[in-house]
Structures are given as C-alpha cells and as structure tokens.
Subunit: 269 residues, 2 copies
C-alpha cells in the first residue's frame, strides 16, 4: 500500500512523454487569484530537471521568468541539459500550453555535486517568537493556495499599509510535508507581495524569480525540516516595479535558500 | 570626428551577422586571471538584446549562467526575444565559441517599459567616506581588468582574511565613463570574491549571476553617474560554494541595482 501523494506533489507532478518533455496540469489546490501560484509553477519547472534521466547533483540556483499567463489546464515542460561538466550542470526549461505561440514561462537552473568543505553562515537569523506563540494568518478563501500554507506571524496580520515592507513568519505546508528543493522553491514565493505592506492591495505579477540554494538533498533527507522561518523585504519601489529579497531558514538557524524577485504592480499615482 | 570607443565598449562590442546573431571578441583589457572578466561577459550578453531590432524598453532583470570556460578569441552571441507583451519582453541568450559543442554561457533577461509612478527606497545606503578621502586599491598586474576600475576603500586593502565578507567601495571606470545598464552589469561583478575576505586567495568561479535593475536608461542619460558606491557580502559558505549579494548606489543615494551570485571555490578542508 502506498500513501497518497501530498497535494503539493500532485500539483507539480510531471509525466514523461519523451526524454526532456513532460506533461503536467495546473492545480486547483495551488491556484492563486487568476493564475496558478507562481511558486508551484517554479517548482514544476525545477521538477522537470530533477526528473530528467541525465540530471547531475542537486539544485544550486534557479531563475524562473514568468513570460505570460498560465491558463487552467494541461501544460508541457521541456527541460534541456545545456552543458554538463564533472560536477556542475546547466539547464534550460520552458513551460508551454496548447495554443500558445510562445512559452508562458522559461527557466534556467544550475545543479552541482557538492563536496564536504568549510561552512559558515554570515547572515543573522531573524528573531521570531516560537511558532507555538505566533498566530496563523487566516487564509483568504479567494486565494486557494494560501490554505495550503500555515503562515504564522507574531500577531494577526492587519493588512494595513505601513512604513516597512519587511516581515518574518513561520512557514509550513498544509498538511505537513518535509522540505525538499521543490517545496523550498514554493516557500521562496509564498510571501505576500511587498507592495501590499506599503500601499495596500493592488494588482501585481512576479515577472522573474531567482533562488540560490545552500543545502543539498541528502541533508534535507537526513534531518527532515517541517517548518521554516521566512523573512522578506523590498529594497526599491520604482515606477511600477519593486523587488523582493527573502531568506528561508530552519528553526535551528540554518540558511537554506536566498531569493530575489522583480514584481510588477499597478500604480495609480 | 568621432571620439574613440571607451575600452569597455570595445570589450563588449558586437557586430550583427544576422537578426539575433552577433559576432564579438574577448578583450585583453578586461581579461581576468585565466578567462574574461565575468562582468564583461555578462554585459556582452545583455548587449546582444540591447542591440536587437525587436528590443522593447530597458533591462529590468538579467541572469547569466557561466556554463564553461570562455577562451581568448572570437565569440558568437545568439539573442532571442522569447515572448513580448505590451510593456515587457523576455529574452534568451547564448554565447558560443568555435569548436564548442555547448554554450560557454547562457542568459535570460526581462526588459520593460516603465511608467512613472510611486518611488521609494527602503534599503539604507551604506556609509562610506567621500571618494576623495578613500584609497584606491592597487590593481594587481596579473588581473588586467582590475586596472580598468578604480575601486576606492576607506583604507588600503590588506587582503588578509577576517571575520566578515562585507565590504563597501567607490567604483569608477578607468578612464571615466557615464554609467549605463551595460557597465552597471559589470559593476555588479567587480567585487573581490567574498571567500578571499574570509579564507584568503583560493581558486574561484562564478557559476551564476542575477541582477535586478531599478533605473531606466533615460534617467541615467539625464543625470550621468560617473562614480557608484558598491557594497557586497556573502550570506553562506557551504561545501565548496558561497553566495554574494551586492548593491550599486549613486553617490546621491539612489539604489540602481541589486545582484546576487553563486560562486564555486576550491576548498581544502
């Protein structure tokens, strides 16, 4: 008897059609307001390389460019190992849907085999009360994917614009799921758009997302991570675009991933 | 009479061979120890999209993946506009050299037309003494490209390993050249590898570099920037790889670009 797939694994599941060509489907459970949750789309693109028979090592970096709208329904992902050396591998991926003249998303990834060596974390882990003392954000029913994450903040989120875009929270899959590189990608995109914290709710769209990974798969298997600490902020809001920088930490203070994205926002000024 | 090209413009110059296919050449002036300065290679890849007749707007984001060694000599860059919408455009680029079975570098870029809107910089500009009170790093003759930049620090750089990888400096082209998106790309990669500041000099190679741009070309033309403040740090050193995050500011406190990269380093431990 096998246990049923976690909804996240269902959402990003790919079926091989040919070497490097995979069929998938958007997920109701990980649906955003008018398109799939970008973190699930990004994880699907990473999954195509993880799935590929020529894959070498673990993800070291991923960039996903959201080039056009993803529609509800079937999708095809093409993954190509562009160049492979002894210990690194460079990938190019594209996500296409029927009837589209151009990809809805493109991506590149670097995979690597790490050798044990010197380790040091220079960044300071943000301080946050223990998860048990924090308050789970009430997921808005109009954004289905937010019900798939327990985001726990020091106090109930007011969604009132303030003078900083920085926020930190505990992040867990619902139901719980041990973290791997796929879900780590999704965690990197789970934060409320930073513009909401400064100007209130406006239409937004992430146009590009990059992630650097600081852990390998064996370490995540050896010590399962069921809850992570996320911290996000914007550096600049400028003429309809803003950036977002974020970090994902284990509760024990290990920095798993650092991520940057550029977000379009509607600007009425 | 036209003035001669700045050495940087010579280094990244491309000649159109066909739409989206460009011929270039590595530069002695921007040579690193055993390969071209990665910032010049990255700028060459951006240049291919800037050069393209279908180009829309200004660079918003760039990711460059250094997939294999670039040799001294001729190179070809292919630039493809993957998808264009009303105000954004997604690009894929590849750099190839004769005899190579696979690209030496791949890249993606997002271009956008910005509309005037709300502006705010949340990050704090690092404090650094005025450039006149700082000391220019003596460029090591074995790294030719460093003679093409005046990097000015509060005190002469000792290159002794310490307990932080963070450093800030003034950056100028030699000879002076007003900043544009091309040279901004190069500035993002001009920092000494962060591992040198922690462990001393070891072999390194940037494997991937991403940049988010927070300014458009018109603004850089309107108010020429001849000197920038750069600040860089690593978050994590882990099993043969470390990251680097950096920011490029104008002296007046405008944040022009944020960037992060993953760097392989030889690790004897």
């Amino acid at each position: 008897m096998t246990s049923p797939l976690h909804p996240f694994d269902q959402a990003i599941a790919l079926e091989e059609q040919a070497t490097g060509q995979y069929a998938g489907h958007t997920s109701e459970a990980y649906w955003n307001a008018i398109s799939p949750f970008g973190g699930a789309t990004a994880a699907t693109l990473l999954e195509s390389a993880l799935h590929h028979p020529q894959r070498l090592g673990d993800p070291l970096a991923l960039t996903v460019n959201f080039a056009g709208p993803v529609q509800k329904g079937s999708l095809t992902v093409h993954a190509t190992p562009v160049r492979t050396s002894r210990s690194t591998q460079h990938w190019h991926m594209q996500l296409l849907q029927e009837g589209d003249a151009a990809p809805a998303a493109t991506a590149s990834a670097v995979f690597a085999v790490r050798r044990p060596g010197w380790r040091d974390t220079e960044s300071d882990m943000p301080s946050l009360p223990p998860a048990e003392e924090t308050v789970r954000m009430t997921p808005p029913p109009e954004i289905p994917f937010l019900s798939r994450y327990a985001l726990r903040y020091p106090a109930q989120q007011s969604f009132q614009p303030g003078d900083t875009s920085r926020s930190a929270c505990w992040i867990e899959d619902v139901p719980p799921r041990p973290l791997d590189h796929r879900s780590l990608v999704a965690y990197c995109d789970v934060f409320m758009p930073r513009i909401f914290l400064r100007r209130g709710r406006v239409p937004i769209a992430t146009v590009t997302l990059s992630i650097n990974f600081h852990i390998d798969a064996a370490a995540l298997l050896e010590t399962p991570v069921l809850r992570a600490l996320g911290v996000a902020r914007a550096n600049v809001f400028h003429d309809g675009y803003h950036d977002q920088e974020a970090q994902i930490w284990t509760p024990e203070g290990r920095l798993l991933a650092t991520t940057h994205q550029m977000v379009w926002h509607r600007d009425g000024t």
